[in-house]
């Protein structure tokens, strides 16, 4: 096993060195002595041998020259005298072995065999307990041959053996001396050194540089201890300074808001600041570690590729983003090399400044800039003197000025008409007071076109509170303005006619009244209602109705004088306010002119249309002193005109007021009449014209009110239609009539048809067809016996719903009848489209059929056409036998009227039926029944 001396203790080393050197010394002495002895012996022996061989050598030339082996041998044999020569050999000049001598044998051949084949080239050789010599044999300066002799040296060995005991003693003595030396060295050198080593170990372990090595004396070890203490003092000082510097450095970088870290060239962290520890190292102590050790999962420093450049002395900067507890952070990093005094880089320092906030601010600013640039609002920024510094694209779009044209020019030049800035107008306190000025102004653009702009001017202050800029925001409100104007118009003017509406009219009236109070003038209020305008709407449609209104309005407007107001109140109602009237007759005069204006036809869709008007007039102050009163009274007066047959004007009178009040009263009673059972049905029988046979009856409603007495249908039916009570009343009538018809059948023995009037309002009511169905089912009446009468106006409106409804009724088997035919528009062609079964000729025709030739002709035509469409023709209001006769001649199928019977209450009709049945049993009816 090899022992590495390097790892052995000093004591061992000393021991080893001492032992080895002792032994080596002994050996050297012995070898030296032996060598000296050997050399001495050899020299003496060589000299001796040379002397001994002298004689032989001197006698050998002749035998060799004359090639005489015998002589040669004899000469060699003289060596026998010397006991320690073992062998002798003689060679001629050419190296040929001539003769030999051997101490052991006398045989020449054997002796020759012991000789070297040729004479050796060396002169003497010592070894193998022998001395060998080669000598040259000369004669007369000529080389004759060579003599080789070999001698034993055993005597010398014997002499050397005498030295061995001495050598042993010497070796032992040296070893003892070595041991003593080692022991002394240990006391004097090793132990103090070991103590010093222990001390150094302690210092190293505790890093307590205050410690000092104990020492005494002035030997090298003490010097070593002193030197160690000096080193310690220096180290302590350096350590303290280093620690202070490091603490200072650490304190500085810890204070820095940046993330700072320093790595050595192997990527190990040498120094980091608090912020790095807080954000990056996740609670681990990064010092001495690499990124891979610190963040095994995270990617290593992606910027390490820059380090080569950094180490080449080029500081690099880069940006990086990291995800931290409170979100993503952006850093601007500077990386540079730290170099020592020799200018060699030993570390790389990175300083990363968090600019998340700044970037956010920048983003905000960019966003703001974009917002301003893309703002739908025009934005102008001026300096404190009002010189434009910035305009956004919307400004250019609105004003027509490009940014390059506008910037640098005074705002007042580009946008004249703005509220002045404080530089231009010191009295503008709002701005100087730092408040925002807002205004809506009309501003010309570059081409001089005026626009409405909503402008706000705001001062912008610097940190000292001084106004440095103004920002002027402008919004194009031209469209809004026009809308506003339009709204204003709509609020005060009628869309169809363009006339002032009710609101404006009332306003004007109030103004006129106020004025009239001062001037003591009369103000006339005329309420104008177009007669039968509803028919126009129903028959020709609303568009035509609107056109008619427009034409009428235009015609009225022409009649207005200065100061008069013509307004449309709604529907077909107009109002004229005529202030400054001296006499009431003037108002009548105006009304007369209006009525006159309506005598001419209106041209509508290529047709001439005759429309008349009804006018009511109230006067201030006589008929009221408020606009509302005056309007209401004029309305009442207009109703008077309507009631009087239309196309007329009436002044308001208190009596009219009472009539209007009655109408209100009527309406009030009407609403509860049905509950109170104040209605009853009367039935007017209908007869076949040809045979006089009773075919049915028309149900007619009657109202007897305890207060009002008997109210005629013409009074309350329109009212009921207006307020909607016609719907429940109509339903009551339908049920009642159907039940009555059922009873009649039983009474008379054959089915009678029952005709029921249906108003337009009823038909438009909720599910009229369903009602009819229910009533038929409940009553058990054959649907074919039910005849629903409706006016032709209903059909002429040509509403698809109406047509559908009539078809449904027809499908149920119900008969449909056109009432009062001939009084309206008589557009017979329309009827073809509808499933009507019966056509009732109005009583006005019947009564005139014998008087007026034209009426007779019309009646004849109606009958003809009705039959042509397979309709049954019914004549109403037959009062005389002549009339009946004429109708029979015309071909009417059925007739009703006073000639036959007035409408009969339920009980009387039952009696009538009874009588009819009896009389019928005998003969056909040919005369009136009662």
């Amino acid at each position: 096993m090899a022992i590495r001396i390097d790892f052995q203790s000093l004591r061992f080393k000393l021991l080893a060195v001492a032992a080895i050197s002792s032994l080596a010394g002994a050996l050297v002495v012995l070898v030296g002595l032996a060598a000296y002895e050997a050399r001495d012996f050899r020299e003496r022996r060589v000299a001796e041998v040379k002397t001994l061989t002298q004689v032989v050598r001197l006698n050998l030339h002749a035998p060799l020259n004359f090639r005489d082996p015998m002589s040669t041998e004899e000469t060699l044999a003289t060596l026998r005298a010397f006991g320690d020569v073992e062998q002798a050999c003689a060679y001629d000049a050419d190296g040929r072995l001539i003769a030999a001598y051997s101490r052991e044998t006398r045989a020449l051949r054997l002796a020759l065999a012991d000789c070297p084949m040729s004479p050796p080239v060396w002169s003497e050789k010592f070894g193998d307990y022998r001395l060998e010599m080669v000598e040259t044999v000369r004669y007369a300066e000529e080389v004759v041959g060579r003599l080789y002799t070999r001698w034993t040296v055993l005597p010398m060995i014997d002499r050397l053996g005498a030295y061995l005991p001495f050598a042993h003693m010497l070796a032992v003595a040296l070893l003892v001396a070595a041991a003593l030396l080692v022991w002394a060295a240990r006391r004097l050198v090793t132990d103090p050194l070991r103590r010093l080593a222990a001390f150094a170990g302690e210092v190293n372990a505790t890093r307590n540089y205050h410690l000092r090595a104990p020492h005494s004396g002035s030997d090298e070890i003490s010097e070593l201890a002193v030197a160690i203490n000096e080193v310690l003092a220096t180290t302590e000082r350096n350590w303290r300074e280093t620690r202070e510097s490091r603490d200072l450095l650490q304190a500085i970088i810890d204070r820095a808001p940046a993330v700072i870290y320093v790595k050595d060239l192997n990527g190990r962290y040498l120094l980091v600041n608090n912020r790095f520890r807080a954000i990056r190292s996740a609670g681990l102590d990064p010092i001495g570690k690499t990124d891979v050790e610190l963040f095994p999962s995270a990617p290593t420093d992606a910027y390490a590729v820059l380090d080569e450049r950094v180490l080449a002395g080029e500081p690099v900067a880069f940006e990086r983003t990291t995800r931290e507890a409170d979100g993503e952070h952006a850093y601007v990093a500077q990386r540079f090399a730290l170099v020592n005094e020799e200018g060699v880089a030993f570390a790389i320092c990175t300083v990363e400044n968090d600019f998340t906030e700044r970037r956010r601010d920048e983003d905000e600013i960019k966003k703001l800039v974009r917002t301003v640039a893309q703002s739908p609002v025009s934005v102008v920024m001026t300096d404190a003197e009002g010189v434009i510094e910035y305009v956004n694209p919307k400004f250019s779009q609105l004003s027509g000025f490009h940014a390059a044209e506008a910037i640098g020019r005074p705002l007042s030049e580009i946008k004249p008409g703005l509220p002045p800035l404080p530089g231009a107008a010191p009295e503008c306190n709002d701005l100087e007071g730092g408040r925002v000025v807002q205004a809506e102004v009309r501003i010309p653009d570059r081409n001089g076109d005026m626009r409405w702009e909503s402008v706000s001017i705001s001062p912008i202050r610097n940190a000292r509170g001084e106004v440095t800029h103004f920002v002027v925001l402008g919004e194009d409100i031209s469209v809004r303005k026009s809308f506003e104007e339009q709204l204003l118009r709509q609020a005060h003017y009628d869309a169809v006619t363009g006339l002032p509406n009710r609101v404006l009219a009332m306003d004007r009236l109030a103004v006129a009244l106020a004025h009239a109070v001062r001037t003591r003038d009369i103000v006339a209020v005329m309420f104008i209602d177009l007669d039968h305008f509803k028919n126009v709407n129903d028959t020709l449609g609303h568009e035509s109705g609107d056109r008619l209104l427009k034409l009428a309005a235009a015609r009225l407007a022409k009649l207005m004088r200065q100061g008069n107001t013509l307004a449309r109140l709604g529907g077909d109602e107009f109002i004229v306010i005529a202030p400054g009237i001296a006499e009431p007759e003037w108002a009548d005069h105006i009304a007369g002119r209006i009525l006159n204006a309506f005598t001419r036809p209106f041209e509508l869709d290529g047709n001439d249309l005759y429309v008349t008007a009804s006018i009511g007039i109230s006067l201030f102050p006589k008929d009221g002193d408020t606009p509302e009163q005056l309007l209401k009274h004029a309305d009442i007066a207009m109703y008077k005109s309507k009631a009087g047959g239309r196309n007329a004007s009436h002044f308001y009178t208190p009596e009219l007021q009472s009539r209007a009040r009655r109408r209100l009263e009527l309406e009030g009673h009407l609403r509860s009449a049905l509950e109170r059972g104040e209605f009853e049905l009367h039935y007017q029988p209908m007869f076949g014209v040809s045979d006089g046979r009773l075919v049915g009856a028309e149900a007619l409603i009657r109202w007897v009110n305890p207060v009002l007495g008997r109210v005629p249908p013409d009074d309350f039916i329109p009212l009921a239609e207006e307020n909607g009570t016609i719907v429940p009343i109509g339903e009551w009538v339908l049920r009642r009539a159907c039940l009555a018809a059922r009873r009649w059948e039983e009474a008379i023995g054959y089915p009678l048809r029952i005709a029921v009037n249906v108003s337009a309002r009823q038909l438009r009511g909720l599910n009229f067809v369903g009602l009819v169905e229910d009533v038929i089912r409940e009553s058990g009446l054959d649907p074919a016996l039910l005849e629903l009468e409706m006016t032709e106006r209903l059909v002429l409106s040509d509403a698809p719903e109406t047509k559908l409804m009539l078809e449904q009724l027809d499908a149920m088997g119900v008969r449909l009848s056109i009432d009062d035919f001939g009084t309206g528009y008589s557009a017979l062609g329309y009827l073809k489209r509808y499933p009507f079964n019966v056509l009732k000729i109005d009583k006005s025709f019947v009564q005139n059929v014998l008087v007026e030739q034209s009426d007779a002709a019309v009646a004849s035509a109606i009958v003809g056409m009705g039959h042509g469409m397979e309709m049954e023709i019914v004549a109403e209001g037959v009062e005389t036998a002549e009339q009946l006769g004429a109708l029979r001649d015309l071909g009417c199928d059925i007739a009703q009227g006073y000639w036959f019977s007035r409408p009969l209450p339920d009980t009387e009709f039952a009696e009538f039926l009874h009588r009819y049945r009896e009389s019928r049993a005998g003969s056909t009816v040919s005369a009136t029944v009662g």
Binding site: H61, A62, P63, N65, F66, R67, D68, S71, Y139, A140, E142
Partner: protein, 149 residues
């Protein structure tokens, strides 16, 4: 071949143990001159083998003798069997070291005769004749000779 080499070595070695009287200055050419008589093949290469060698501090010069001439200035004369017979009279008067190789060479006045005894090259000398020629033969040479006349 071996024998030829041994013969050459012996010839030169013999010369080392012989001393010559000083030469007359007119005859001294500064070289050790060997004259070879006879065309025996065994002598053929003598000239080539000894040329350039030094003997007695002189460069050896070997030449073939023309018939009956050139002995006067020669230090050593090597004679073939036939020539030694033919030049018998010159042998007796020669001052050079004569070396022959036949029975009776010494008796005919030669100084050194080479012998082949049991395969080994030996020699015999005529000390009387050498003394007559003024040559001194070393004791080492005499001791090695087979016979001495």
């Amino acid at each position: 071949m071996e024998l030829a080499k041994a013969r050459l070595d012996l010839l030169t070695n013999l010369a080392r143990y012989v001393s010559w009287p000083p030469k007359a200055p007119e005859l001294d050419r500064g070289v050790f001159e060997i004259v070879v008589h006879g065309d025996d093949n065994s002598w053929a290469d003598l000239s080539r083998a000894l040329s350039g060698k030094v003997l007695k501090s002189r460069a050896i010069s070997v030449r073939r003798a023309a018939a009956g001439s050139g002995w006067i200035e020669a230090d050593m004369v090597v004679l073939s069997r036939a020539d030694s017979l033919r030049l018998r009279s010159e042998l007796t008067n020669s001052k050079a070291l004569t070396v022959g190789e036949r029975d009776g060479f010494l008796e005919d006045g030669g100084i050194i005769n080479l012998l082949l005894i049991r395969g080994k090259l030996r020699f015999e000398v005529n000390q009387t004749r050498a003394r007559q020629a003024g040559l001194h033969l070393s004791a080492w040479l005499l001791r090695a000779a087979e016979t001495i006349l």
